[in-house]
Subunit: 278 residues, 6 copies
C-alpha cells in the first residue's frame, strides 16, 4: 500500500466547506457559491475545525484551499456580522471586553490554517475580498487564475482590519505596497499580485490553476512529511524571531527530527520518488 493511499480515511462533514482527502492531499473548498462564499459564523468556526483535523490526520500531508463557483471569497458575510457584536449587556466596557474576545476567536479561526503543520496552498479565482485576503495570507503559498482580484475591503467599511492582513501581508509584498493596498482598499489584479509577490503564479483560468496546483501538492505530498513539517515550522518561526534565535531553534529541532535512514533513502533514489512514512 502506498504511503499516501488515503482511501480508508473518513473525512468529517461540514456545512460550509467541502473536504476530501486523496493521495495525501486534503482539498478544502469554501462551499457557499450562491453568496460568493461569504464567510458566515459557521464558516469561520468550521475553517478552524477543518484545519485542526488536517493537522492531526497523519494521512494528510498537504492541503489545498479553494472556493466553489465563480469567486473565491466575498469576505465576511455582512448579514452575519451582527453575530460578532456582543449584545449580552448594555455596559459599554463589558461589550468592549467581549468584542475583544470575539475578534481573538475569529483570528484564531484563521490562524488554524497557519498552525496546521502541513503546507497549505490557496487557489484563488474571481473575487478575494476582505476576510478572504486575511484568510489567504495564512496559507503558505497562493496561486491565482487571471480573473482573480484582491481588495482589502475593511477600510471601505470604516474598519481597521483585525484578523490578520495587516500583520501578515507586509511580509509577502513589502511595506510600501502593503500600506497602499490597506489604506486605499483598491483592487489589485492577478498580474499585479504576482509581480508584488502576493501570489506565486497566475494561470489562464481556474481549471488550469487547479490542475497545476494539484501537481504541486502531489509533489510536496511525495516528499518526507517529517522534513516538510519541519520546514514549515522553521519558515514560520523565522518570521517572528531573529536569525540567531532561528538557527539555534532549528539545530535543536533537527537534533531530534533529522532522520538518517530517510535521508539516505532520499539520497540514493534520484531516479524514482522514494516513499516515506507519514
Amino acid at each position: 500500500m502506498s504511503s499516501a493511499d488515503n482511501s480508508h480515511i473518513e473525512c468529517p462533514n461540514f456545512e460550509t466547506l467541502s473536504l476530501s482527502l486523496a493521495d495525501g492531499i486534503a482539498t478544502v473548498s469554501l462551499n457557499n457559491p450562491d453568496k460568493a462564499n461569504a464567510m458566515n459564523a459557521a464558516m469561520w468556526r468550521e475553517l478552524q475545525q477543518c484545519f485542526e483535523w488536517i493537522d492531526s490526520e497523519p494521512g494528510a500531508r498537504v492541503a489545498i484551499l479553494a472556493g466553489e463557483g465563480r469567486h473565491f471569497c466575498a469576505g465576511i458575510d455582512i448579514t452575519a456580522m451582527a453575530d460578532f457584536i456582543p449584545r449580552h449587556t448594555k455596559d459599554q466596557q463589558r461589550i468592549n471586553e467581549q468584542l475583544r474576545l470575539n475578534i481573538k476567536r475569529l483570528q484564531g479561526n484563521l490562524t488554524a490554517i497557519e498552525r496546521c503543520r502541513k503546507p497549505v496552498l490557496a487557489a484563488i479565482q474571481g473575487a478575494c475580498i476582505g476576510g478572504g485576503v486575511d484568510m489567504i495570507c495564512c496559507a503558505d503559498m497562493r496561486y491565482a487564475s487571471r480573473d482573480a482580484y484582491f481588495t482589502i475591503k475593511e477600510i471601505d467599511l470604516a474598519l481597521t482590519a483585525d484578523v490578520g492582513t495587516l500583520q501578515r501581508l507586509p511580509h509577502l509584498i513589502g511595506r510600501g505596497q502593503a500600506n497602499e493596498l490597506a489604506l486605499t482598499g483598491r483592487r489589485c489584479e492577478a498580474d499585479e499580485a504576482q509581480q508584488l509577490g502576493l501570489v506565486n503564479r497566475v494561470y489562464d483560468d481556474s481549471a488550469q490553476m487547479l490542475d497545476e496546483v494539484g501537481k504541486l501538492a502531489a509533489d510536496i505530498a511525495a516528499k518526507s512529511p517529517l522534513a516538510i513539517r519541519g520546514t514549515k515550522e522553521m519558515l514560520l518561526y523565522s518570521r517572528d524571531h531573529s536569525v540567531e534565535d532561528g538557527l539555534n531553534y532549528v539545530a535543536t529541532w533537527n537534533s531530534a527530527m533529522l532522520h538518517q535512514q530517510e535521508m539516505f533513502k532520499a539520497a540514493m533514489s534520484k531516479a524514482q520518488t522514494p516513499e516515506f512514512e507519514d
Copy 2:
C-alpha cells in the same frame, strides 16, 4: 458643512516649508528650491513641528510631502552640517555624548513623519539624495516622476547613514537590494525604484504625479479617519512585533475603536461616498 471643509483652519507658517490644508489634505512642500531643498537646521526642526501639527489637527486627514522646484531634496545642507557637530567643549567624550544626542534629535525630526497618525504620501521629482531618502522612508507611500532618482549618499561622505534609511529601507525593497544601494551609494532611477518597491508608482512628469497623488489623498481623506488612523498604527506596529503580538494588539485596539454606526453607514452607502466625523 462637509466634514472635510478646512477653510476655517489657519496653518502655521514655516521658514523652510510651505504648508496648506484643503479638503482634509495637508500639503507640505520643502521650500528652498534654490538650494535644491537641501536640509538646513531650520528644515530639520520644522519638519517635526509641521508633522506634529498635522498629527494634532483633526481637520487634516492625510498629508502629501512634496518639494518645490526641480529636485525633491538634495539631502543635508553641507554648510549647515557644522551646526550638528558639538563645539561646547574640547573633551572628546563629552563631544561624543552630545553628538549622540544631536543624532537622536535629527532622527526624531524625521520620525515625526512616521509618528503622525495620518497617512503621508511622498511625491518625488528630480534628485532625492542622502537625508532625502531617510525622509521619504518615513512616509507611508512614495510616488515618483520619471526623472526622479535616489542615492544613499552618506557612504560617499564617509558616513554610516544614521537617520533612518538603514533601518527602514530593507522593509521596503528586501535586504539584498538595500545592501547594494547602501554600500555603493549608486543612483537608482525611478523605474528601477518602482520595480524594487521603493516607490509605488512612476508618472510621466511632476504635474501628472501631483495630480494623481492628490486624487489618492482625496480618496483616503474621504474614508473613516478613525479606521485610517488605526490601519496606519497596525501597519507600523506589525513591522516591529511578531504576528501574534500584532493580532493581540489589534484585537485590543478595535475593542475600543471599532465604530458600529460608521461601519453600517459605510456598508449601506455603496453608491455615494459616506461622510465621517474627523
Copy 3:
C-alpha cells in the same frame, strides 16, 4: 603608497579554498571544481577560518566569494555527510546532543561570512544547490551569470534545511516565494532569481560577471572602510531589531565612529576619489 596596496600581505593557504588579496579586495574561490565545489568537512571549516582572517586583516576591505569551474557549489558533499553524524556512543540522546552541536558548528562556519565586517559579494555561475544556497544567503549581495540556478535541495534529501536558508532567504525574496522554493525544492533560474530579489543582477556569462563584480568591489574598496563597516553592521542589526532599537544603536555607534576629517575630505573631493586609512 596607496592605502589599498596589499602587495606586502601574505594570505593564508587553504586546502579547499583559494584566497588572494589585491587592491583591498579579498577574492575567495571554492576550489574543488572536479566535485562541483561540493562542501566537505575541510571546506566548512576553512570557510570560517578564511572569513575570520578577512575580518581581522585591515588590508582587506571587501570580499568576493566565487567558485572555480562550471558550477558555483553542489552543496554539502554527501560522501562527507557521515562525518557530521556523531558515532562516539550508541546512546541516542547523547548522539542527539552532539548532533545539535555539530549543526551549530556548521551554522557558525557559514555565519562567519555574515559576521565578517567587510562586505561580501557572491558571484554565482552554474549550479548553486543546498548548502550553496545557505552559503550565499550569508553574503551581502549576490550576482549571477545567466546559466546560474538555485535549488533548496535539502527537502529532497528528506531534510529540514538547518544551516541558514530558512532563516535568511525570506528577508531577501519575501515569504510567499521563499515558502515555495523551500517546500518544493524546485529550480529557480537566474532571471527569476533576479526578479525575486535573490540576486542583484544577472550577467551574460561568468567572465562578464566576474569583471563587473570586480568593479563593484573596487568601488566599495575605495570608500571609507570605517563607514562601510558601520553600514554593514547597521543593515544586519536592523534585520533582527525594531526600528527604534536600530535608530538608538546607530546614534550610539556614530557618536564613536563618525569621522569628521574623513567626512570633510570626502565632501571636498567630488572630482577624484579620496583615499582613506584602512
Copy 4:
C-alpha cells in the same frame, strides 16, 4: 440578588478534581489524596478543562487552587508517565516529533491556569514536588502552610523540567536561587520559600491557610471584575514585553475597558463595598 450569588450555577464534574463555586470564588482541589494528588493523564487534561470553564464562567471572579489530604501534589504520576511516551511507531524521529507535541500539550494543560483571566491563588500544604511546582508557578499568588516544602524533582529523574518551572520560577525568586533549586533538586521549606518570594505568606497550618486565602479571594471577588481581569492581563504581558510596549498596550486596553461609572461608584463608596457587574 448579589452579583456574586452563584447558587444557580452548575459546576462541571471531574474525575480527579473537585470544583465548587460560591460567592464568586471557584475552589479547585486536586482530589486524589491516596496518591498524594499525583498527576495522572486525567488530571492533566482536567486541569485545563476546569480552568477554561472558570475563564468562561462570568460568575467566577477568582479561583483557589488547593489539594485534598496531607500533601498538595506529588508531581507527575510515574505509573502514568508511560502514557506520555509515544509508542505508535518504532521510528525514532517520529517518536520524537510526537513526544514534542505531547510535551506541548502538557504545557498547555498548565498554561490554562495562567491564561484563565481570573486571578488564581494556590494554597499549598505538605509536599509540592516536580509537576506540582510547575503547576503553582502558573498561579498568580502562592500561599503555604508551615509544613509545606517544594522540590524541583525533575533533575533527580534525569529530566530537564519541561512544563514551566524553568521558565516561570526565575521571575518569582531571582535567577541565582532558581538556578540552585533547579540544578540540585533540593527541598525548599515553607519559610525559606517565603523569604525567596516563592510564596507570598506562610500560615501555621492548613486550616488557617485556607481560611485566610479564602478571605483574600473574597476581597478580590468584591472588586470590579473588569479591573481585576485587566490587571492580570497587564501583569502577564509586562513579563514578556518591554516597559514601553507594556505602556502602549495598557493605554490601548483602557481606552476600551476603563469604566467611568464603576470608577465613580468605587470612588464614592469608601465606606461600604460597592457591587459590580461580573
Copy 5:
C-alpha cells in the same frame, strides 16, 4: 570654582513643585501639602517639564524627588480626574481614541523621570498611593521613613492601573509579590517594602531620611557625570533587552564615552575625591 557650584543657575518656577539646585543636586518637591500632594493636571504636566529641565541642565548631576508635608503623595487628584476624560464629542470611539492619547500623555509625564539621564532618588514619607506608586517606580532608587506605606489604589477605583506600576513594579519586587499588591490594593508598610525590595532602605523619620538621602546624592554628584549617565542608560536598557544585546550596546557606548583621562584621574586619587567636568 568647584564643578558642582550651581549658585549661578536659575531654576524654573512651578505651580505644584518646588525645585532647587545646589552642589549638583536638584531637589524636586511635590508642593501641595494641603491636599497630600494629590496630582492635579498641573502637577502631571510640570513633573515632565521639571525632569526635562534637569536632564538638560549640565549643572544638575543627580535629583531627589520628595514631597512636602506629612504625606508623599495621595495619588491622582480625583477632582481633577474629569480633566482626563475626553468630552469634545459624544462619539464613543472618538472618545476612546482621545482617552488613549490622554493616558499615553500621562504615562509620558512620569516616564520623563526615567528618561532623565541623571539618577533620581525618591524620598518617601507617609502615604504613597496610586499614581504616587507609579511615580516612584520611575525613580532609580527609593528610600522611606518608617511611617511610609504604599497602596496600588487603582484596583479599588475599579481601574486597571495604566501609568506604569504594572509594568515597572515586578522588576523591583518579583512577580508573586507584585501580583498580590496590584490585585488586592492592600497597604504595604515601609518595613515590608524594604524586605520586598520596593525601597532600598528605611529610616526612623523623615528628617533622618532626607539627611541620608542627601548624603547619597552628594556621593553620586561627586562621581564622573559621564560614567553615571552611562550606568543609568545601561541599567535601563538591560531591563528591556537580552543580555547579549546589552553587552553589544555597552561596548559600542563605551567606545565613544570611555574617558581615559578621567579614569586615570579617578584611579590616582583614592585619598581625596577627584573633580569632574559636568
Copy 6:
C-alpha cells in the same frame, strides 16, 4: 570504573589559573594571590580558554570558580589596563572601533563562563571588586564566606561598567538594589548579599565554604549530565526570551534529549545514587 573517575584526564596548564579535575568536578582557582588575583591580560584570556576546555571535556560535569589567598578578586589589574587601550593609530575613530572590539573580547572572555554547558559555582572570600563582580555574575550560583564583600568599583574609576554586571546583576537582586550598588559603588557585605539574592548562602569561613560548595558540586556531578546541561540551557534561555518561546524551545529540546532509560534508572533507584554516562 565510575563514570566520574577523571584520573586519566590531563588538564591544561595556565599561567594565572590553577585547574584540577576530580570526580567530575573541575576546580578553577584564580592564582595570583600576591596581587589579590587582579585580572591581567593573561587571566582574561585564560578564563575563556579554561571554561571552553571544561565545556568540551566530557569528564567535567560541574565547575567551581574560586580564588587563591585572602581575596577572591581585586578586579581588573590597573597596570594591565593600558593593554586594553588601542595605540596602533592616532586616529580617534579607529581607536574607538578597536576599543569596541577589545571590550567585546573581554566580554567574551567572561561570557565563556556562562556559555560553559556545565554549572559553575563561584566560591568567594574577601574582596570581590569590579571585574570580579562581572565575573561571578556569569556563574550559575554564588557562595560566600562571612568576610566577603562586593563592590561595583567601575563607577569610582569614572567608568560605565562594560563587561556584564549591569546586564546580569539586576536579574539576581532586582532593579532597585542593583541601581544603588552600581551608581554608588558602595560595599555590600556578605550577609546583605545573601539577603538581596546576590549569593545563595554565607558560610562562617573560607574553609567551610569550600567544603560545602564541594559537596554541592559533588551532588550535581552525580546527577544525569544530560539533564543538568539541559536545565542550565533552559534557565539561560528563559532569561532572554518570553515564557511562550521558552516553553516551545524546551519541548523541542526534550524531544531530542529526554532519555527514557536514564529516567527509569533514576526513578527506580531512590535508595542509592544511580550512575550516568557523561
